[in-house]
Amino acid sequence: MPDGSTNITPYLAQALEVSPTFAGAGVDWVDALRNAGAQCYTDHGLPVRRDEYWRYTNLNSLRDERFQLASADPLIGLPPLPHPSVSGLASYRIVLVNGRVQPKLCMLDGMPDGVLITDLGGILVAAPERLEPHLGRVVSLKDMPMAALNTAFLQDGMAVFIDEEIVLDKPVHLISITAPGEGAMMVQPRHLVVMDKGAQATLIETHISAAGGSSFNNIVTELQVAENARLNHFVFQGESETSVHLSGTAVALSAGAYYESFVLQGGAAIGRSEIRAYLNGPGADCRLDGVYLATGNQLVDNTTYIEHAAPECRSHQVYKGVLGGQSRGVFQGKTHVTRGAQQTDGRQLSQALLLSPRAEINVRPELEIYADDVKCSHGATAGELDENAVFYLVSRGITRPDARRMLIEAFLSQAISEISLRPVGEGFSTHIQQWLGSHVDQSPDGDPS
């Protein structure tokens, strides 16, 4: 065991040391929030296998504290972005480099009245009172120890406010770039989206790495979707294979609110997307879908928790993944129906394809139900590509790799087709095709390199 393994709270000391210099320091509630994060992280420690939600994702590589918080002022240009159909979409663009918003790279012109898209660090200084009712209100630190660490480091990120009944004309595109230099670098960005009653918006996130150094990206996103508001949220995680990418999203939905989430994870050595959705008002509706692609030694984790805390809410989830090399996939999804949340409709499907003899999948769907008038279900499958189907295609003259790629694409398209914004769906499809093209090779057993 490495020496660091005895340290159950790596990075805490760094946080305590630097946070007094952060934006908003000295504001009582901001200090209190950071302290609460530090305390909660201290109480829990870095997640270990004993923690039900971290059973299959091992964070021992974080123990030795080799990651240092990124320096304050990195200066780089915008690297080329993947999938043109997404990056080419007219949008309000907000760019983070190493966890800090880079105003020069943002394109936020023409923001309508009642809309604010800006850097969190800026408001922490200029108008912290605007954040107070929202920041730290959705995320449950005791359930998300890594979010607690993020809170101890809370400093910058994206903040979006959309006022009542406003339908945002263009998507918000958050581009987050990690550009590690020589040493191992850590970033702790914090994002907040507040949608007032009846507001509608689309948020796209692109997470990429600009250089090859190793990085640890620990993101927390809080989303508040008020009565009858609608938020569509599409995330692309394509970080380098030397990075650890942990993303924790907490979303609160009021009555009649709608939230759509699609996460495409294809990058990082360890990539984890955890989404906790709280359906707090009657008739709230959420879709959580995703696709994951992994090869080599990658570990990709999708964890969801949906709390039906009010009657007549709906939640649908479809997660599909393709695992090659010696990669490991994790899907954990819990649907929790509280007492009184009658007429709940909660459905979940998780399917994984193993493309190689050394790949591995761990799945833990879970239903916890305390109301009787419910329709809840989950389904899970794991296995290799149906050889009969491959043979059928081959017998019609299609090459074996093409046949395999076609079938994998078809398998994934059921999830991709749920994406409501067409250019995003197309962009993600293109990415999947490219990935399959370079990872489902010509070898007879189809073992991706």
Binding site: R339, I361, P365, I369
Partner: protein, 489 residues
């Protein structure tokens, strides 16, 4: 007219209560209360055990002292005082009777009341054409009678109490005991290994198809007594056995602990079918009393083409905590788990299975039907693991939960781990309630509420119930209805 109504009411009032709650007034011999090495030596001495058995018990006890009681399961219970219980209670006539005529009539009467046939001829005179059932009757800590022993011995089948088998077939018992569930496996398995008092032992020799159902009937009678039985079934190459287990206990206000261990071993081409109808006293509607049923059941499918099938109907106990499992070691071996669990009033259950696929082409099938009513809470917890070498293994799991009323809970926690790309795992789970339209449809055809619920729930469980041997299936169907009485209103 009046007398008729009275009779119906009387029957109803019996049905409403736990049918097996009576106490047999019989002189029992107890070891002193509490748990220590001396008690374990005493149990071992009482049973005239070989030295190696005592050693195993003491090792298990020493290990148990280092272990912590598990807390990860959903049902929580107040701490058990392990020193405040008797670990050995036996009817005074401890000499095992040679024939049934020597058995204490009070015991015979008890089993008659429970509907368990201990007289061989009575079984034979029973339903036409019905296959005979051989019974090992375990009363508190000891086996009091085993029927059909002689007839089974003709085919080399060993069936009887495990204490006796330790004397008559020490090599077999020593070879297999603890080979599937080692004493260090878990807290309650360690406790059991230290203090188990009796249980059944079955050995089916090569190529023998056991000609009748074997069954053990467990009865807890004495107060402040835990029951720690140990069952070991070994099916040698090409053999087959169907084994039934039933359990009841008197109605008491305090909780009693039942921590059993069941080990099954199936060699090449052997098949074991193990059916349980668990009807321990569940406690009253306020959650007072009832059995803590903390059981470790595991099967090793050691041989090629071996097969183990668990069927359980769980309606009793205040808390049930058990996961009958299969270790599928032999290539082409098959594990099955069929379960109906019903919780009502304040009952808690955390049950399911583990299917560990090690060999090639191994198969498993899990069908679980959970029904929660009243204020009860129920969890299905299961693990399906495809290990690296489990080429072309298959699993199918279907977990359905039914909720009756808005004060109960139903949870499903499956773990699926696959390390083999050619293995296929398929899992489905649903949770729903009895449809208002289904209830009305039955009522419109003249059925009362409870009759309608019993009918619909039996339909919901049918896939599982029909895997039971016939005589058990009928009993289980009735039990489903009785267990849910008072759950609709």
């Amino acid at each position: 007219m009046v007398s008729n109504t009275e009779a119906i009411d009387q029957v109803r009032s019996i049905g409403d209560q736990y049918k097996y709650g009576f106490v047999t007034d019989i002189d029992s011999e107890f070891a002193p209360k509490g748990l220590n090495e001396d008690i374990i030596r005493l149990i071992s001495k009482k049973k005239e055990e070989p030295e190696w058995m005592l050693e195993m018990r003491l090792k298990a006890y020493a290990h148990w002292l280092t272990m912590e009681e598990p807390t990860w399961q959903k049902p929580k219970y107040s701490a058990i005082d392990y020193q405040d219980s008797y670990y050995y209670a036996a009817p005074k006539t401890t000499e095992k009777p040679k024939t049934l005529d020597d058995v204490d009539p009070k015991l015979l009467e008890t089993y008659e009341k429970l509907g368990i046939p201990l007289r061989e001829q009575e079984v034979l005179a029973g339903v036409q054409g019905a296959p005979a059932v051989a019974v090992d009757a375990v009363f508190d800590s000891v086996s009091v009678a085993t029927t059909y022993k002689a007839k089974l011995e003709e085919q080399g089948i060993i069936f009887g109490s495990i204490s006796e088998a330790m004397k008559t077939h020490p090599e077999l018992v020593r070879k297999y005991l603890g080979s599937v569930v080692p004493y260090g496996d878990n807290f309650f398995a360690a406790l059991n290994a230290a203090v188990f008092t009796d249980g059944s032992f079955v050995y089916i020799p090569k190529g023998v198809r056991c000609p009748m159902e074997l069954s053990t009937y467990f009865r807890i009678n004495a107060e402040n007594t835990g029951q720690f039985e140990r069952t070991l079934i070994v099916a040698d190459e090409g053999s087959y056995v169907s084994y039934l287990e039933g359990c009841t206990a008197p109605q008491r206000d305090e909780n009693q602990l039942h921590a059993a261990v069941v080990e099954l071993v199936a060699m090449d081409d052997a098949e074991i079918k193990y059916s349980t109808v668990q009807n321990w006293y569940p406690g009253d509607e306020h959650g007072r009393g009832g059995i803590y049923n903390f059981v470790t059941k595991r099967a090793a499918c050691r041989g090629r083409n071996s097969k183990v099938s668990w069927t359980q109907v769980e309606t009793g106990s205040a808390i049930t905590w058990k996961y009958p499992s299969c270790i599928l070691q032999g290539d082409n071996s098959t594990g099955e788990f069929y379960s109906v669990a019903i919780t009502n009033n304040a009952q808690l259950a955390d049950t399911g299975t583990k299917m560990i696929h090690i060999g090639k082409n191994t198969r498993s099938r899990i069908i679980s039907k959970g029904i929660s009513a009243g204020k009860s809470d129920q969890t299905y917890r299961g693990l399906v693991r495809m290990q690296r070498g489990a080429d072309s293994a298959r699993n199918y799991t279907q977990c359905d939960s039914l909720l009756i009323g808005d004060k109960c809970g139903a949870h499903t926690i499956p773990y699926i781990e696959s390390q083999n790309w050619s293995a296929q795992v398929e899992h489905e789970a649903t949770t729903s309630r009895i449809g208002e339209d289904q209830l009305f449809y039955c009522q419109q055809r003249g059925m009362g509420d409870e009759e309608a619920v019993a009918l619909i729930v039996n339909g919901f469980c049918r896939e599982v119930l029909q895997t039971l041997p016939m005589e058990f299936a009928v009993e289980a169907q009735k039990l489903v209805g009785i267990s849910l009485e008072g759950s609709v209103g």
